[in-house]
Amino acid sequence: MGGKWEWMLFSMIIMGIHAIAILIFTRGFLLTRTELPYYSHCSDLPHSPCSFSPHPDPNPNPNPSCWTKPVVDRVLIVVLDALRFDFVAPSSSFPESKPWMDRLKVLQRMASREGSSAQIFKAIADPPTTSLQRLKGLTTGGLPTFIDVGHSFGAPAIVEDNLINQLVQNGKRVVMMGDDTWIQLFPQHFIKAYPYPSFNVKDLHTVDNGCIDHLLPSLYQEDWDVLIAHFLGLDHAGHIFGVNSIPMIEKLEQYDGILEKVIEVLRNKSGPGGLHENTLLLVMGDHGQTLNGDHGGGTAEEVETSIFAMNFKKPPHFSPSDFDTCELNLDESISISSIQQLDFAVTVSALLGIPFPFGSIGRVDPKLYALGTGTWSVEGTSVGHGKNQTKLEEWMQNYANILCINSWQVKRYIDVYSASSVIGFSSDDLLLVSNLYAQAEKNWSHISENWSLNKNENYNASLPVLSRQIDAYFDFLSSVADLARSKWTEFNIEMMSIGVGIMLISLFIHVFAMGRLNKKYGSYVPSSGDIGISFRFIFSCFVVVTRACSFLSNSYILEEGKVANFLLATTGIVKLRYAIMQNKMLSEAVVFILLISVLRFTIEVGLSKQAATSAFMNISPSWMLGFAPSHPLWIYTAEILPMLAMIILAYLLYKTIASGSIRGLWKYVIVGTTVSYMLILVHWASESNLLSPILMPRGIGRNNIPRLVYAIGFGQLLLLAFGQLFNEENTLDFKKRLVVKTVAMLSTCSSTVIILSGKQGSLIALAFVIGGYCIIRLENIEQDHKEGTAGNLNPLSVTQWSLLAVCLFFSTGHWCAFDGLRYGAAFIGFDEFILIRQAILLTIDTFGFSHFLPIFGLPFLAACQYLLGLSDQGKTSFVRLLSQMYMLYGLITATAVTATIICVTIQRRHLMVWGLFAPKFVFDVVGLILTDVLICLASLYYLGGMKDDKSKISHRKMNIK
């Protein structure tokens, strides 16, 4: 009795250790941030301590001012994707002049000629420097992490408060053209949008030409307040050709021409009363790129991009350079200062006079703001040199007030975030930040009081006071930004190493547990084999280790499905070799290899889908239509084949029932599955264009049939649990009973998994049955019966089983990325969205074929040799075998996951860390925990009701399916 429970205890312990290790590692690696569903409103301002205005506006602005007074009326934002800093900055500021420098001449000319009304900024982005994350960062003013825990499920739409949302809320009209990522992020916000597909990296011109077509005409229109034109050419040229290439330089020169025209138009219209009298032009990159054209990581090349800002009004008569610590005077005429991308959202909000996005942690950048202020502070007053001092002071006062609002808003966000987020900031940090804020606030209220007391006093004395005040706010804002960066963009190496360490320890415990179990049962089994030296053991280790090592390179992770298939095919060929050697089961070996060849093609179709996600996602949930363009023959085949497979599966089940060995409860369970299969068939038929006119009007069964299938599955599970608890019939011999249980369990799971997987489901299920059957048949081919080693654990077969599971994951059209999830599956049978329900469905779809079915099907591997009469050992040795198999299966999975974790740690500064390694890590970790849980459940289910008796029970042959 002890062994069984000891095994389960070990499984639980290992699951616990895995969970702890993963939790610790994740805390260090996967930076998460909670998205808050709060929004800033104009009416929030009275809650702030900053409503005080030192100068009641003499000429009230016609526009009702909100948080700040609007400074510019219109903003034209030209986003050049992957704009390196050295594309814009003059080459004289770099040690060496490169061919791609000084190509955007118009920007440099403007920056040098017009003094401070046009300026080039070096913009520092925060990693991850991928377009989506950067656009999110630019518009929310936050630091998007890899996983922003929020309410968006599937769609990448931004639900946090953001610049675009504020613009729309405050009646600004936003027009977008170019990269369709904006539409994904802001599906409802634009009054006009001209999106172009961005997924085809090889296409350098579609997006850009589309932009150009619409940009210039739009400049003459009055129907927008903010226009965003997103050009993709630089990014694509970089990805394909690299930075130092002819296409890149051509692109830059093309942009130079366009920008010249744009500036020309804007300037011509910028006279008093003109269309662009008060327009701000921003030409900016979302991130940089390396010389190879990669981006995503945090190297200087990738994070350094540029913002060019130009105001067509008169320049301000002073430079607020006093506050700017990072100014670099590189050139006689062009001064370049640094700005954080973080500050973009809040600065633009301040310029346009709209509330700052709720989650922004940036500060209003003095230089960029001053560029806009030129149009406002000088307004209506005579300009004289004598008044500059006053002007400056007025400006600073106003700026200090804006910073007050800015700080109040950031403080509010930090407080709300810490209160509502699961993983907030540490209390020490919060205290520090609060102190800084309290100090700055006290000063400010002091100053304000002074002002209100002596309104007409000379302000001269207050200049240093003001600049101290501004410094105090800067202190607060920069410490918040530092805190947020350390929280959201920096890895915690200590925790990561601890996680890796625990994971490694868990592997040792795993091996130790297996050895212990082996020893414990060893005495019962006469031929308890020395698996330590056999070839198949070494070969299995080789395969598992090879797979583990392959995770070190991003290329192999990208092609993981093919790698798994390659290794599976290799094991298949080794098995074939044995089959030839033994001169038996040749056909099984050949069928297995043929099956792998077929799987290989489905995996490739899945991978090609990965390359062009956005195109395929909308078209079809089924990969088959992917290569069935329009020819009717293809369509018919794609319709009929899955149904045929379904019928074959149902027939197999029917035969199993008809064989008579299954009785009572189990029989009803399996009959239930057959009914489910038929229902699925009807469901598909009703969905297909081919048969629906014949069978029934569309829509009747659309939601009801899947729900019925789920209900049947659930009922079957309940029945099985019931049978587990009460049905202690010992009439069946235990091995047969086990097989019956396995069949029942598998069939129960299969119907739900199949309907969720769409039409490919039945084909893949059939492939699983065939593949599993071949593995089982070939299990002991290496051995000679004479040696009597049957009944031992065969590591090679378990490895094959696990590799087959991996292949099935990829051949169902999944891959280890979040866009690899088949979101459509979550809505089969349901129209409305409920998080938990849909998440469960999605989990079943994602891991159904790769985790649920293989793990519940593993007992076949153990049972077959008994059923085939290869071994007549008693129940105890059988329990040993089964437990060892589960242990080994868990160990193989854990080894792969450990390798992933180690590789992720090593590659944490890799370009693709967010694009590839992190999603792979998440999928693997979820898969590992699921595997552990399923193994525990399976052991409970299969061995829970089994009594340990050592009586030999004669076995009968039985055909599994």
């Binding site: 390179s553 080794v574 040696e787």
Partner: protein, 241 residues
Amino acid sequence: MMKEMEKKKKAHVKVNATTSTSTNTSKSIVPSASMAILIHLICGLGLVFGFLVAHNLYSINLVSHPSHTLRLIWVIESPIVILIYSFFRQNPEKCSYLKAITRGVMVLPAGALVNALGAIALGAPVGFQYLPKTINWSLLMSLFTFVPVASVFGASWTDWQRIFARTKPRRCLEYMICLPAHGAVIGAWLGAWPMPLDWERPWQEWPICVSYGAMAGYLVGMLASMGFVLVGGRWQHVKGE
């Protein structure tokens, strides 16, 4: 049959003492150690010659014109292999030299088919633009693996089984066939690994690096078999005394 591709390891498979097969081998011509080395040398030089012709005469190489180069190599190598190994055929009195050559020539495409199927199962790209490359590559692989066996042993199933499935060569000649064949297959298997890497080098294309791997493995296998023949020959000599 489908043996081929019995990848890896000259494994220590526990032999089933069922090898009741051994035909009377005394009649066949047994190559001496020096002769064995000569044969390997000729085969190896044939490969080199193929490369030289491709490079100097046609100014093409494996990377720029994989399909043409492979064809050139197998066209040059196949007469060498078939003629040499047919000379050492089993039962020379029952089987004429010509018949052995015919066997070799016939097995060449058949073995290529098996090799191609194995490669496709392992993930070789399929498509019209790859078809000539795959065909020429698999013909070369067939030359490395099956053709010598066919020339020497003909259709003897047990001998094929012994050489490819059991990897139990017994004599000098069998070593000379078995080791390079296994070397070529293992080399090709290893040669496939750089293919998915994102280095974007032209040689990562199918079947260039696989061909390089196969040829390297073949050469290593020949070296190993030379070693075996030298050591084994001495050993047999001592044993004979």
